[in-house]
Symmetry: C2
Subunit: 148 residues, 2 copies
DNA sequence: AAACTACTTTACGTTTACGTAAACTTTATC
DNA sequence: GATAAAGTTTACGTAAACGTAAAGTAGTTT
């Protein structure tokens, strides 16, 4: 099965490079549900997975509220009556559409970065040409001097 | 050349489905630099392009500050001394890495959505089976009745 | 001229996602 | 058993990205 271990707050903080403050905040917002041994939190591997999902969601521009919605929905879905299951399927469809949009955005951005890079390189080439015109002699000396 | 028109604030707001408040805010943050005729703002097609970039950036999870940084850097780059050009090239590299990360995140998300969907469909199939067991006779009548 | 529409500035309010102390308890180590 | 290390709660602070009046101006329609 799963790695079936439990985790302390600082273990998770270190593994995913977030502060303990953030983790506690996620619990406060009910995105994580650690149990307790006395006062201290004990995180399950399910919590660990969820933390990973939270962070990925953030990188993808999802708010914590959105992510929580998905978690809650998935939990309901598991206790699955038919209506919930169908609802989940349509939501999955919507999310897929969102991902498509993001892929388009990324593709666009990549293209624009290509042309931006090209312009940079052209401009650099121009500068090089002018330099040579200004100092046509003594070429080798200058080039090595630049690398000091 | 470019479409070389100018735009009013409400034109842009309508086209991109944002509030005028947002557009003014972007100006306030110096992401847009409309000129004025009297009091009223006049946006150039460059502003229009930038607004489009701002919104795409947001969808990709970029903050306004990050986007502004890119704008500023690109402006500096155009007035291009060599150092700026080289700096821009390395920044482009970094952004590319970011995009790669996002593509990975999206791919992961898609895979997980695939398995989530599969589980949903399995669970649905299970429910259907149980229904049939509960009411094995009268099958056709029930199935059509469900679609009322 | 009155009313309407679009636009403006000023400014305070709100939500999100934490940061940052302060003061305290529990657990591990010497 | 003292002390450090890690964890806890409480609570106030903050930056980002606008929302939402409030009150005024400028041009346009009737």
């Amino acid at each position: 099965m799963d790695i079936k271990k439990t985790y302390s707050i600082s273990e998770l903080a270190k593994e995913f490079d977030v502060t303990t403050r953030s983790i506690r905040f996620y619990e406060d917002q009910e995105l994580l549900k650690p149990t307790r041994r006395g006062q201290t939190r004990i995180f399950s591997s399910k919590d660990r997975v969820r933390l990973k999902l939270i962070l990925r969601g953030k990188r993808m521009g999802f708010s914590l509220a959105e992510t929580k919605e998905l978690f809650d929905l998935w939990d309901e879905t598991l206790s699955g009556n038919e209506k919930q299951l169908l609802k989940m399927l349509t939501i999955l469809d919507n999310k897929r559409a969102q991902l498509e949009q993001q892929k388009n955005d990324i593709a666009q951005a990549e293209m624009e970065m290509d042309t931006a890079e090209a312009r940079c390189r052209e401009a650099l080439a121009e500068l090089q040409k002018k330099k040579k015109q200004q100092a046509p002699a003594n070429d080798e000396a200058r080039q090595t001097a630049e690398h000091k």
